[in-house]
């Protein structure tokens, strides 16, 4: 999936708006009704909204997945539309996994799910065995929307590379790549196996303070903190 020019900029802005809304919901808890599609003030078939939802994958439904907040019909339509509009590129590990994650979340979120929400077998994780710690960090960071309360084969795969992902967290922090740091930190929180000396909680808190200018970083931090608290 590629987006260019003005359209790409619009998708980027919508990704930020959705990520910000989801991050706020994860941070503030389940007190208020959550209706992403209503807050976007757009049609469920708006191509920009669909593209943005596909970028964020299963995180579009994170308030439901993490906190059990009711999911609106509009949000199910948005997620289902995104899954249909952007089918997986089977030659790409991130595309395959994030598409699977989005459809699996739709399937779990209820009978109102779109037709695309059919439970399919998990994609393969053999790639997680090999690869340098830098490569593994890059790849798992792309798949952070799958680091949620529902375990997949990615979770033990991440746990098996915990030291390498922790090195990647250090690298991302030092590069001030806040999105990658938060994304990898989210996996470490999900797997619950960060080395004690890493100081993951403090690192994530720092990202929340200095890196939240990118709402995707804020979203990953709030998801990681929810996972560390053991919610749901």
């Amino acid at each position: 999936m590629t987006t260019t020019g003005r359209n790409g900029s619009a998708v980027h802005e919508t990704v930020q708006r959705i990520a910000h809304t989801v991050a706020s919901a994860l941070h503030n808890g389940g007190g208020n009704p959550f209706d992403l599609s209503a807050s976007l003030i757009t049609h469920a078939d708006d191509p920009v909204a669909l593209a943005a939802a596909r970028v964020l994958g299963a995180d579009v439904l994170a308030p439901w997945a993490f906190l059990g907040m009711p999911v609106s019909q509009g949000d199910l339509a948005l997620a289902g539309g995104a899954a249909r509009a952007f089918p997986p590129d089977t030659s790409s590990v991130p595309s395959t996994w994030t598409h699977w994650g989005l459809t699996a979340a739709l399937h779990r979120a209820g009978p109102g799910g779109a037709p695309a929400a059919v439970a399919a077998a998990e994609p393969e994780v053999a790639w997680a065995v090999d690869g340098s710690w830098q490569q593994i960090t890059h790849r798992f960071a792309q798949l952070a929307s799958l680091a949620g309360p529902t375990a997949t084969a990615l979770l033990p795969a991440a746990a098996a590379r915990a030291d390498d992902l922790s090195r990647g967290f250090v690298r991302a922090m030092r590069r001030q790549d806040w999105v990658q740091a938060a994304a990898v930190g989210r996996w470490l929180a999900a797997a619950g196996c960060a080395p004690a000396s890493l100081g993951l909680a403090a690192g994530l808190a720092l990202v929340a303070q200095v890196g939240a200018g990118d709402a995707r970083a804020a979203l990953h931090v709030r998801a990681a903190q929810a996972l560390a608290r053991g919610e749901r």
């Binding site: 890059h138 090195r167 250090v170 690298r171 030092r174 000396s197 890493l198 100081g199």
Partner: protein, 323 residues
């Protein structure tokens, strides 16, 4: 990922020596660096007559570091015959012509009785067989004062002082454990806070604690585990930033661990950064102007250190003997 496309970089790395080719590359860095040091030995020159104590101290630093590397090279015994002879000639020159057979150290002790600098320079020379009784008598007296023990220094330097005292046989070294506990490294803090300055504190804590590689078993297991876990991230950062001096020091620390990683990519880039004359630039590439010796001598000495320790540990691993 970065846009750089390193040439002739071997894939992998990891917890093996990378074989004889990698060991040869590590060894070559050191022999070329020693060659440059001998070619430029005039840079270790003695201060002019009438120089102030502070000016003299500036001359002490390179000479003291040369002696440390001479000690490492002699001790590890992995240098070639001509390389060892070059280093011995350098050390003789430094002791005789620069330090006036130790007389310059004694002169400074008389002017600044409490300064630890003369002892810090003297210890390695003493281990290499050079002696000056007056320097030792003075150091023995000052070490026994409460003022010496109360000196306000960085914890890693204080650790170094306790080791200098022990190496010069002035004390038994029992203060080492307490001095270590006060260092940054001993607290095993968050590794993502390690910046340029903290990285040097870490390397020097390990250097001092192990007497510059002479007693690798002095590194406690928990600190060895901590360094094994996080050193790859720091090596990666300073290789990417092309800061060869700090990268070299981190590669020394790697070679001091129970199971060195011998990062193939980092060593390849380190070797490629070295000039054809054997000088190692401080960072990125060599600048055409400025004080050449003043900028180059330290990273070049670090290259000797990293090369010697890594070659020694790699050969030990190849021979299968316990380290």
């Amino acid at each position: 990922m970065t846009g750089e496309t390193p040439k002739r970089v071997p894939r992998g790395g990891g917890a093996d020596t990378g074989g004889a080719g990698a060991t040869a590359l590590m060894h070559r860095v050191g022999s070329r660096a020693v060659h440059w040091l001998e070619e430029h030995r005039g840079g270790f020159r003695a201060p002019d007559r009438g120089a102030s104590a502070d000016e003299v101290k500036e001359f002490f630093k390179p000479v003291g570091e040369l002696a440390l590397m001479g000690r490492v090279l002699t001790r590890e015994g992995v240098a070639g015959t001509s390389q060892a002879a070059q280093m011995r000639r350098l050390l003789d020159f430094a002791w005789r012509d620069v330090l006036d057979g130790g007389g310059l150290l004694a002169w400074m002790q008389r002017g600044e009785p409490l300064s630890p600098v003369p002892l810090e320079v003297y210890t390695a020379f003493r281990e290499l067989g050079y002696h000056h009784p007056e320097v030792e008598r003075h150091a023995r007296l000052m070490v026994s004062t409460r003022s010496w023990q109360a000196l306000e220094t960085l914890p890693s330097r204080r650790l170094g002082l306790t080791r200098h005292e022990a190496r010069a046989e002035l004390t038994s070294g029992t203060a080492t454990a307490a001095a270590l506990r006060r260092t940054w490294l001993a607290q095993t803090p968050e590794p993502w806070t390690v910046d340029y300055h903290i990285a040097y504190l870490v390397t020097h804590t390990v250097f001092h604690l192990t007497d510059w590689g002479a007693r690798l078993d002095a590194l406690p297991g928990d600190l060895a585990d901590y360094l094994t876990l996080w050193l790859p991230a720091w090596v990666d950062e300073w290789r990417e930033k092309e800061h060869w001096d700090l990268l070299g020091e981190l590669l020394v620390v790697d070679a001091m661990l129970p199971t060195p990683a011998f990062d193939g990519t980092a060593w390849q880039r380190f070797a490629e950064a070295q000039g054809p004359d054997g000088a190692m630039p401080l960072e990125r590439t060599r600048s055409a102007d400025g004080d050449e010796f003043g900028t180059l001598y330290h990273p070049t000495l670090v290259a000797v250190f990293a090369s010697t320790m890594a070659t020694s540990r790699a050969l030990t691993a190849l021979n299968g003997s316990p380290s």
